[in-house]
Symmetry: C2
Subunit: 229 residues, 2 copies
Amino acid sequence: MIHLYSTEDKVLLAVDCIIFGFDGEDLKILLIKRDFEPEKGKWSLVGGFLKKDENLEHAAVRILKHYTGLDNIYMEQVATFSEVNRDPAERTISTAYYALINIQEHNDKLNKQFSANWFSILEAPSLIFDHNIMVSNAITLLRDRASTKPIGFELLSEKFTMRHLQKLYEAIWGQKIDKRNFINKINALGIVEKLNEKDKESSRKGSFLYQFNAATFDQNSGKQFILKF
Amino acid sequence: MIHLYSTEDKVLLAVDCIIFGFDGEDLKILLIKRDFEPEKGKWSLVGGFLKKDENLEHAAVRILKHYTGLDNIYMEQVATFSEVNRDPAERTISTAYYALINIQEHNDKLNKQFSANWFSILEAPSLIFDHNIMVSNAITLLRDRASTKPIGFELLSEKFTMRHLQKLYEAIWGQKIDKRNFINKINALGIVEKLNEKDKESSRKGSFLYQFNAATFDQNSGKQFILKF
DNA sequence: ACAAAAGTGTTACGGTTACACCCATGC
DNA sequence: GCATGGGTGTAACCGTAACACTTTTGT
């Protein structure tokens, strides 16, 4: 079998992004109302097409910057979706990426500009094409990664309370966790540093703030990061 | 931003397959000597281009059938690789799939026809393009899947001994496992059925044959399949 | 009789889970 | 002084890991 590349079929390649955020209670995804045909007016993931001179990751970064205004976003490829008629307009293959952003840093103006909205993953509307499957795969992958890598911090502000962190993991796994067991385990992992500051927002007593300590984590990296309940 | 699909760049989309087999001792991958430019004569994964009227999975099935003669192969997508210059001949994006086949059923004639060879994952040669990274990602994924899904059986014949099964998992994880602990755990999972036959190949005493029991596994599917040591 | 692999249970250990009360503060 | 969330330790339990000897049979 001899290949002459030039005789092979070419296709459109798109990137779709599942953008996760955390508001203190629920894990959320950012969706936009699609403003062009087909399926204009329906809810959709943010996406765009791959250009000749960039790789998929670069395209994802570009799209994320466009829709969120943010750089340096934590991102990982989910999978590539290629059903022949997934997009009724034209044959398009799409690679999905999930991204973790700090919802506080996200600019509300952009939401108006793009008719975008945050939806709890428990109450998200039905999406165009195969985007529901993409979201579902992304959630599965995120749950796995959150259990084996210290990526949760990407969804929080630099300083956070133990309660924030716990609520985050509860939202990711859809499961209540015992307060004492959670704190014990986090401390055993030695990846957060207790600060001499308190957050007074949530209670009269106030609760201590922590920050992720990459250095400590790297030292411990002999042992595995596993966070399961 | 308004998209007119017709103005977007199109690209070549390829599929590359990491074909795993198990010879009783080592986990192996099937590689071919590439018979066309660029990189003619170098070792490579088997691959091909996506056609207009098929999805990626279909392309992978087609390629596997072509190079191994086999249908109904267990397969899973690994990831999509898109560096701009990954293929020096022309911009090509490639989606990698790993596949598990029973090495016994594989036809040696085809190996001659395609200058193909099985290599232990521990001694595989350097490959063209980014194929080494694909293999490495595939192994990581396989290890994860083997720990959480009963897919190991895809690499064995229908009937196998406990020793075969243990050697397989040892090869996948690159780690010795205690014989008694292994058997205890497999039996606790209740996914294999002991047959009234013995394999006399490996010892004078002979060892009992087992087969995977999908029915039993489905009944147990309330509990999770987890196989780690 | 001996070599070579098969087969078989129990104990110790470590990590996970379950669980309840006092503390500090603002109103 | 009381209501609200913050903070803290221990004991029971369960799964995992470590470990050695007997059995079978072909030569």
